[in-house]
Amino acid sequence: MTSAATTGGYETKDRISARALVGWIVGVGVWLLPLIWIDTTTYLILTVAGLTMGMLLFLTASGFTLIFGLMDVLNLAHGAFFAWGAYAGFSTLGLLNAIGWVETGTVSQSIYSLLIVLAVALAVGAILGLILEQVIIRGVYGDHLKQILITMGASLIMAEIIRVVWGPNDEVTLVPAALVGSWDFFDVVINKFRATSIIIGVGVFVVMQLVLKKTKLGIIVRGGVENREMVQAMGYNVQRIFTGVFCAGTAFAAMGGVMWSLFKEQIYPDMGSENLIFALIIVIVGGMGSVTGSFLGAIMVGLAFNYVAFLVPKLALGVNILLMAIILLIKPTGLLGQD
């Protein structure tokens, strides 16, 4: 990955890529460090679990960082979209189960139901995002304080509506039959759903990068970030593009929510705000506005959490804060962040 080099300035390119190289070597070193205390099989299982968690967190964090990087909006209601995605998925799975596709379905029915649920979550996230952007956020562009306050208020409202519609208690989510169980590679047990989510996460990352870097839309979006007036003068409707980016971000959060609910097999109204903290840490670690940064950050958080939870269970919650502190000490803007 050459992202560190491409984000650097022209004249300092070589120095920065040398630094990035050192960073990568140290990073891989730390990644392999737990092998001293954990035997290889367990290490691999934990790695898969960590990657899964990382990918699920990435889905939420990527939308968060995209919205912040491109629109300069800190959307603290992002966690609420996560929860809404999970609850929408929960209801959809309930409907699909009624026609026998979920718990008793064949492989293809399971895959179809997963795809349907993901599509529903994406749609719910996008529609709610559209409403939030049009009704509430549009009036407060450029004012960070008001944005934070208003999105916090919105997240309260959204979480409360969940309680009103679905009730305040925990619910158990159904998992499509074909995704239950695991494969076994030389004693390394890989849960089917975990493998699926890693594939989906990487897929979303690749598509996001391709759209941002290779398509005309991506160029317009990046141009709009650099110089909004110029893009407007070229005849593009920047406002509409921003709305689109916002919806995409919230849709990914909702998708992350439904994947998370299938991973944990339970949902509760406050799941959104808990997840938002992970997203915040990831975005701070990765550098605000950088999708690649949040991808790396998500993997780091996921892996660190799983290794430490195995080695020193009591420290598991603190390790992410520790990780954040270390990264910020080395680079105050986060891994791939710019000033």
Partner: protein
């Protein structure tokens, strides 16, 4: 006498005006009311609301220092409040038999804890963008909340810590009747809270009117100019954040003294943070006195709104969704939050000051 600089002239004008005019009168009246009401109305509910308003005023004012005067959005203010509350609760609870000296010990612990953590937060987050501070404090506050919920051996987790206060503050203490009112531990605690809060509030007022406070305002209004004038903005901001957070932790101690019970949700949660935020905004950012109005408004609403909800339940006894809607007062809180930020961003005191200013300039225009 030498010619005064504009700043000096402004300051002397301000000092002369401080003990005259309706604002000063209002302060004296408010203070008198807070002293007398508990003696006149011996209702526990009223006393409870008053004490909470007083304590929250200090917490909100200290938050106003950070947000309104320094321009940094901290989402971890409830964490500092919780540090204070928990240090008193844990010191008295784990010691077995509470002693009077435990209160200053708890205050010392709370101050040390908040100074260190505020310094760490400032050091990590103020070096980058302003928005970083908000994210960082939010993450840390949530972490502190999780810690309080999970660390059962120390904090008794979600069960909360119920503790007894020593000596004259204990519930059983009584000094007979005075003017027909029983002087008991509750009342002593109330006056202790009142005195401490007035002192803390005066300290905050002194802080924002000091030269440091002026520098902070200049940083908030125009950072580049402040830097160009040679002020080390990082130090000033750090100082303000540390001071505000410490005052919040002391307010937390008072809160714990009043309730004699703490749990993670009541003193550290994001809900409390949002409460404080809304109070600051309703009162008016950067006004200090707004804290009193904001705290009073929300606290009174919070105390008597549940009564209204019972009414709603009585009207729709069969509809489940309607009942759930009535139960969820946080929903209305959230809606109010958004509406206030949108339509009433200056708050009561800010709007009032704007009106007074407009009135004055209008008069000048006529003359």
């Amino acid at each position: 006498m030498a010619e005064l600089t504009p700043v000096q002239a402004e300051r002397s004008r301000e000092q002369r005006a401080r003990f005259a005019g309706p604002a000063f009168l209002a302060q004296v009246l408010l203070l008198l009311a807070l002293i007398v009401i508990p003696l006149l109305i011996p209702s526990f509910r009223v006393l409870d609301v008053l004490a909470k308003i007083i304590i929250l005023t200090v917490a909100v004012a200290s938050y106003d220092l950070i947000l309104g005067y320094t321009g940094q959005l901290s989402l971890g203010h409830a964490m500092f409040f919780g540090f204070g509350a928990y240090s008193l609760a844990l010191v008295t609870y784990h010691s077995g038999s509470p002693q009077l000296y435990h209160i200053p010990v708890a205050a010392g612990i709370a101050i040390a804890l908040s100074v260190v953590s505020a310094l760490v937060i400032a050091f990590f987050s103020l070096r980058v963008k302003a928005i970083f501070f908000a994210m960082m404090t939010l993450a840390l506050a949530e972490f502190a909340h999780i810690l309080a919920v999970q660390w059962y051996d120390l904090t008794l987790a979600a069960d909360g810590v119920s503790f007894k206060l020593p000596g004259i503050f204990s519930v059983g203490w009584s000094a007979g009747k005075f003017l027909g009112v029983e002087l008991n531990g509750r009342l002593v605690t109330y006056y202790f809270i009142l005195i401490s809060s007035v002192l803390l509030f005066a300290g905050l007022l002194r802080f924002v009117r000091s030269p440091v406070g002026r520098v902070l305002k200049s940083i908030r209004d125009n950072r580049q100019r402040a830097v160009a004038l040679g002020f080390r903005t990082f130090r000033y901001e750090t100082f303000s954040i540390v001071f505000g957070s410490t005052v919040a932790s002391l307010a937390g101690i008072l809160f714990a003294m009043w309730l004699r019970y703490v749990n993670p949700d009541s003193v550290m949660s994001l809900a409390l943070m949002l409460n404080i935020l809304l109070m600051v905004i309703i009162g008016g950012l950067g006004t200090m006195y707004g804290a009193i109005i904001g705290a009073a408004f929300l606290q009174i609403a919070e105390t008597w709104l549940p009564d209204l909800q019972k009414l709603a339940v009585a009207f729709f006894p069969t509809n489940e969704i309607a009942q759930r809607l009535a139960e969820r007062w946080i929903l209305y809180f959230g809606i109010m939050f958004v509406l206030v930020v949108y339509f009433f961003p200056r708050g009561f005191v800010g709007t009032a000051r704007q009106l007074v200013k407009r009135h004055k300039t209008a008069k000048k225009g006529i003359a």
